[in-house]
């Protein structure tokens, strides 16, 4: 550990990204993510990197994908409205297999909504925002320090699986300032995309050997001269109308994530050993949940926390493993019930699943959570 520094979540995202090797940022100002662009503009030239303020979010994500195709680790940051604008090209990144990180610092409400207020209303947009069947990896940090370390993981996963990774922050974590001890450089694990083609590729830039899922990616300008397209393509990267080749490609893209779910999924559990009630939460909601659990434990309630750090794919195996010991589950999130749907799907009716959410741009407090736990207990006794 190095010495403690006072840092904002949005700044930690930039510092972590730079530690991960990010050397290109393109973005467009939008609250509450703007500090990420500002910090990138300040820091990137200091490390030989490039910052570009684009004319809109459509251009930002496109420039990021272009930079990554040129071999540079690249990132953009936005909030809900800008995230919506980026969706088409996030799908392009999935299809063309171009690694990058997209930070979404969520804010409240549909449309322009409440720009400075917290929300977790983009959870489903992160999964289903772009069209067509596609895989998504999304990670959500719950503190400033975790923002730093987890965004490094976001880059690592993007590079390893050659896919855009969504870094789903929220206004709470993005604007929170706290003292953090950052890990030393020597403690960090940094992954890079595989740059030399697989054996047998013979200039087939999207060639993947049997049993593997990820093609190698040489940057433009290193002599391979291949084609990248968002159309269905064969292993040479050239468009095809063959439904057989297209079907295999779409399946491989999904398998790339689904078959590696154990490598991708991370959770945090707190006080779960003897828990009878699990509170599921993620991101900025976590802190209120942990204080509520301390209080509830002091009152003798057997409550624990199950927190997806990888929010997509949803950690269904891990949650399912906890079901035998549980009496019920409480989903707490700053939206109208989005991760709730994943929890319900995973639980499959085996247990009651309660919900506590907020969509008015104010934060859920530990007292709200305790009140909800008491209400659940009363309902239990009443039955």
């Amino acid at each position: 550990m190095s010495k403690a520094v006072l840092m904002q979540g949005n700044e930690a995202a930039v510092e972590g990204a730079i530690a991960a090797g990010m050397r290109f940022f393109a973005g467009y100002p939008i609250t509450p993510s703007t500090e990420i662009a500002e910090q990138s503009a300040l820091r990137l030239p200091q490390v030989g990197g490039h910052f570009l303020q684009m004319e809109d979010e459509l251009a930002s994500i496109a420039a990021v994908l272009g930079a990554s195709a040129a071999g540079v680790k690249a990132m953009t940051a936005t909030s809900g409205p800008g995230f919506s604008l980026m969706q088409e090209n996030i799908g392009y990144g999935v299809m063309a297999e171009i690694p990058c990180v997209i930070v979404d610092v969520q804010r409240a409400g549909p449309s322009t909504g409440l720009p400075t207020s917290p929300s977790q209303g983009d959870y489903m947009q992160a999964r289903w925002g772009t069209h067509g069947d596609h895989p998504v990896i999304a990670l959500s940090p719950s503190s400033v320090r975790e923002t730093y370390t987890l965004i490094i993981r976001a880059f690592n996963l993007a590079e390893k699986y050659r896919t855009p990774v969504i870094f789903l922050m929220d206004e709470i974590v993005g604007h929170m300032r706290e003292g953090v001890e950052l890990p030393r450089e020597s403690e960090l694990i940094i992954n890079h995309r595989k740059m030399s083609f697989h054996d047998g590729a013979n200039k087939q830039c999207y060639f993947v050997p049997e049993g593997e899922y990820v093609p190698a990616m040489k940057p433009f300008g290193q002599g391979e001269r291949y084609n990248i397209t968002g159309l269905a393509h064969d292993s040479s990267g050239f468009p095809t109308n063959s439904t057989e080749i297209a079907g295999k490609l779409f399946t491989r893209l999904l398998d790339k994530v689904e078959k590696n779910v154990n490598d991708i999924v991370r959770i945090e559990e707190y006080a779960m050993d003897d828990a009878e009630t699990a509170i599921v939460c993620f991101g900025g909601t976590t802190r209120a949940v942990m204080s509520a659990i301390l209080e509830a434990r002091a009152q003798g309630k057997k409550v624990g926390m199950f927190r997806p750090i990888t929010v997509w794919p949803f950690p269904e195996q891990q949650l399912r493993a906890r079901l035998p010991q549980l009496k019920n589950i409480l989903m707490v999130e700053h939206n109208h019930g989005q991760m709730l749907l994943e929890v319900q799907r995973t639980v499959g009716g085996a247990l009651p699943v309660d919900f506590l959410g907020r969509i008015d741009g104010t934060v859920i407090s530990p007292a709200d959570i305790l009140a909800k736990l008491n209400e659940m207990e009363e309902n239990c006794h009443a039955q």
């Binding site: 290109f24 393109a26 251009a59 420039a63 994908l65 300008g221 002599g223 084609n227």
Partner: protein, 279 residues
């Protein structure tokens, strides 16, 4: 047998291309390949083939990227210039050439065009301008002349058209030019000059679409449309010998404006250098 040029600079496994008989796009694609070939072969310059990147958007024009045997990326509709900006800025040694269409670069991608022009990032944009959306079957585009017909303008187009080269010049492009299919030799030279130009350069190349635009507007077949270009699009040397009256209804083919504004990646490199020295 394909010619030497095609053998060397096109992906012959993927030919013939998908364009309709009589389409002008193949000629423009060839012009681009010849311009690049001339630069690579020219001992005066140090162009490496592997440093060329061809970026395209979506539409008939944008299929050209796949046929050209360079680093190539066929992106999303309207976003080619934005992708290209990322490629060039991330690795300024690359020669980034955007192949786009009138709809791709002046409708859905119009914002990226004007901002790239303003920024003066060293890209070369070649617009295959056929006055129509060909890939989707003949809808009017931002360059369809007023009054002309298209499948979405069955009673004649009410919109007024953009002049892409002037639009880009107005937005600050440091090199703005026009070319066409008929004057292939002149157009090739203009594209060569555009690639050599340090800042943002654009060549608005008038293509022909006999299948949709031509048929809808009774412009005749490809030969007739080329004849129209021959008579109405005038290369620079001839343009300046013509009187005002002779120029009415005709357009200049050539370089419309050229300035040496500072190039974006070079200016940014100075900032990086400044930060390095401060350390």
């Amino acid at each position: 047998m394909p010619s030497d040029l095609i053998h060397q600079y096109m992906r012959i496994d993927h030919l013939p291309q998908i364009w309709c008989p009589g389409c002008g796009n193949g000629t423009i694609m060839r012009d681009v390949a010849v311009a690049i070939e001339q630069l690579i072969d020219d001992p005066e310059y140090d162009f490496d083939r592997d440093d060329f990147v061809i970026v395209s958007g979506i539409g008939c024009s944008s299929r050209a990227a796949g046929y050209l045997d360079f680093n190539s990326i066929h992106t999303t509709h309207g976003r080619a210039i934005a992708f290209a900006s990322g490629i060039k800025f991330a690795n300024p040694k690359l020669n980034v050439i955007v192949l786009t269409g009138d709809g791709d670069c002046s409708a859905i991608g119009g914002n990226h065009l004007i901002h790239a022009a303003r920024r003066n990032l060293g890209l070369t944009v070649v617009a295959f301008n056929n006055d129509i959306y060909g890939m989707t079957g003949g809808q009017y585009s931002p360059t369809t002349p007023n009054g002309d017909k298209a499948t979405t303008a069955p009673y004649g187009n009410v919109d007024r058209p953009f002049d892409i080269a002037l639009l880009a010049a107005g937005a600050g492009a440091s090199f703005a030019a026009r070319g066409d299919v008929f004057h292939a030799r002149e157009t090739t030279e203009i594209i060569r000059q555009a690639i050599l130009h340090k800042g943002f350069s654009i060549v608005d190349v008038y293509s022909i679409c006999p299948t949709y635009y031509g048929r809808k507007n009774k412009k005749g077949d490809a030969v007739e449309m080329l004849k129209w270009q021959k008579e109405n699009l005038i290369p620079t040397n001839r343009w300046y010998t013509m009187s005002e009256e002779e120029r009415v209804g005709k357009k200049l083919i050539g370089i419309l404006s050229r300035n040496d504004y500072p190039e974006y990646t070079e200016e940014y490199a100075k900032i990086i250098e400044q930060c390095r020295k401060k350390k």
